[in-house]
């Protein structure tokens, strides 16, 4: 490559020699032409400002320029001075020594390997020999036994047993109150600050696995609905591992209440507050309340007395509206007989009474 530039540089002085002092064509100064050679007045003469000698020099310099060559030829010239210069025949076939060197370098690279194999090799560097053999990996990493994985599992075995938040809280109580009492204070008078909340004490696990794997634990307590009925409430104790993703609540502070339990907790206060408001209103106007109660009570007494039923049921509202027939309904035969008998008896009694009075008057006169 440098030779190319050198060649150009070499040829340049000749050109420069002709160009460094070019005749000023614009100045109109006449050049020195060889007679009969390159007449300046000839049509199409673009070198009117040059003398014939200059033109000859230019042409001579052009003859000395190297032949045009391709990039490959220039590269081959460059290789000429290098010790690993390939033969010209190789250049003709497109052989490139660098490519061969790259390929040779590639041949020396280690064989391609999977990520698992690379990881195994890394483990080899950090673990004692013999514990791990990356060459023993098969195509299925999932089936591979790895001594380091076994070591991790063994370390996990040495971890403390998973415990519930309640257990952690109880342990915390133990640690902070060991100087005051040796164990859990189960007194129920609430006088000891170290008394754990026996309500939140988790029940014994009933489904713990053989390998100590904790499972969900359920307990039941009796709850009370607002109407006073007993409602069984199921409490589920879950190990910390069973928490949902994103649950960052620290363990050891007790079970989180459910929404229903929160409502229950607030419900007592809300109901009490509502009743107090209602009672306050009633007390403020107790006299009017009593008067209103008395007034409506008298009306109810009237309704109750006006419609006494055989069983004490108040008379239905629609029973008070009776339809009146256009024509009186004739009394039934039994009723008319009774009326007739009563009339006859009455008349007879009146007659007898009149006779008796007459007899008494006569005796009195006599």
């Amino acid at each position: 490559m440098s030779e190319v530039y050198q060649a150009s540089e070499i040829t340049q002085p000749a050109s420069e020699a002709a160009a460094t002092a070019p005749p000023d064509a614009s100045s109109g100064s006449a050049s020195v032409d060889n007679p009969g050679s390159y007449p300046d007045a000839a049509p199409g003469d673009d070198f009117a400002g040059y003398s014939d000698a200059d033109i000859d020099a230019i042409l001579a310099a052009e003859d000395q320029l190297p032949e045009p060559r391709t990039r490959q030829e220039a590269a081959a010239d460059t290789w000429d001075g290098a010790p690993d210069d390939p033969a010209d025949s190789e250049l003709a076939t497109g052989y490139d020594g660098d490519v061969a060197a790259l390929l040779a370098e590639e041949q020396q690279l280690p064989e391609p390997r999977t990520r698992q194999e690379a990881a195994a090799a890394t483990w080899d560097d950090t673990t004692p020999p013999g514990d791990d053999d990356p060459e023993a990996f098969s195509a299925n990493p999932a089936t591979e036994y790895d001594g380091d994985v076994a070591a991790l599992l063994a370390a996990e075995e040495q971890l403390p047993e998973p415990r519930t938040r309640q257990e952690a809280a109880a342990a915390t109580w133990d640690d902070t109150n060991s100087s005051q009492d040796d164990g859990l204070d189960m007194r129920t008078d609430g006088s000891s600050p170290s008394q754990p909340d026996t309500v939140t004490e988790p029940p014994a696990r009933n489904n713990e696995g053989e390998n100590g794997t904790p499972g969900p634990t359920e307990g039941q307590v009796d709850g009370h609905a607002q109407n006073g009925t007993d409602v069984p409430v199921t409490i589920e104790y879950l190990p910390p591992e069973a928490r949902t993703v994103g649950d960052t609540t620290p363990t050891g502070i007790g079970r989180k209440p459910t929404g229903a339990e929160i409502l229950d907790m607030e419900g007592d206060d809300r109901t009490e507050s509502r009743l107090d408001r209602l009672f306050d209103e009633m007390v403020k106007e107790a006299g009017d309340v009593s008067d209103g109660s008395g007034a409506i009570g008298e009306a109810i007494v009237i309704d109750d007395r006006s419609a006494p039923g055989p069983s004490g049921h108040p008379q239905p509202y629609h029973a008070t509206t009776r339809t009146v027939p256009d024509h009186p309904v004739p009394p039934d035969p039994g009723a008319s007989d009774a009326i007739s008998s009563m009339t006859i008896i009455g008349v007879a009694a009146a007659v007898a009474l009149r006779h008796a009075v007459s007899a008494l008057r006569k005796e009195h006169k006599a």
Binding site: D276, L278, M282, D288, S290, A295, D303, T320
Partner: protein
């Protein structure tokens, strides 16, 4: 406020609910100011408990309207004094609609609660024992309320 006042209020209400009207009228007219306060609280407590058992928390409006309509039909004289709106208001105020607490004045509220309490106990022919239990619960609530009030 003493427990005796609460007991007197309970006696008045028991006479009324068991339809011993002559006793009811005489006892009610004999209440002094303190006993009237106890009577107002016992009445509200008994009515609230009975309404909560009958309707539950925040019942549908249709349930309340239907009950009030039937009660007013059963007691036409009382219906002439007590409006359906007042009766529905006290029921809804006692079953969770807190905004209606204090919506009625004392006289209308007392009349409505008394009439609806009577209708609630008569609806299923509540026996005397059930009425006694209801009044005992109301008396307890009233005593607790007066104790809290004394501590304020």
């Amino acid at each position: 406020m003493t427990n005796t006042d609460v007991d007197s209020a309970v006696a008045v209400l028991r006479a009324f609910l068991t339809r011993d009207f002559s006793t009811y009228q005489s006892l009610r007219e004999g209440l002094d100011a303190s006993q009237q306060q106890a009577f107002a609280v016992v009445l509200a407590a008994a009515f609230t408990s009975a309404a909560a058992r009958r309707f539950g928390e925040k019942p549908p409006a249709a349930d309340v309207i239907e009950f009030v309509a039937e009660a007013r039909a059963s007691y036409p004289t009382a219906a002439g004094i007590l409006s359906a709106e007042d009766a529905e208001t006290v029921i809804r105020a006692s079953t969770g609609d807190d905004d209606l607490i204090g919506a009625l004045d004392g006289r209308r509220s007392g009349a409505a609660q008394t009439a609806m309490l009577f209708a609630l106990t008569r609806e299923n022919e509540a026996p005397a024992a059930a009425i006694d239990a209801l009044l005992a619960e109301a008396a307890t609530q009233a005593e607790d309320y007066f104790q809290r009030r004394a501590g304020r």
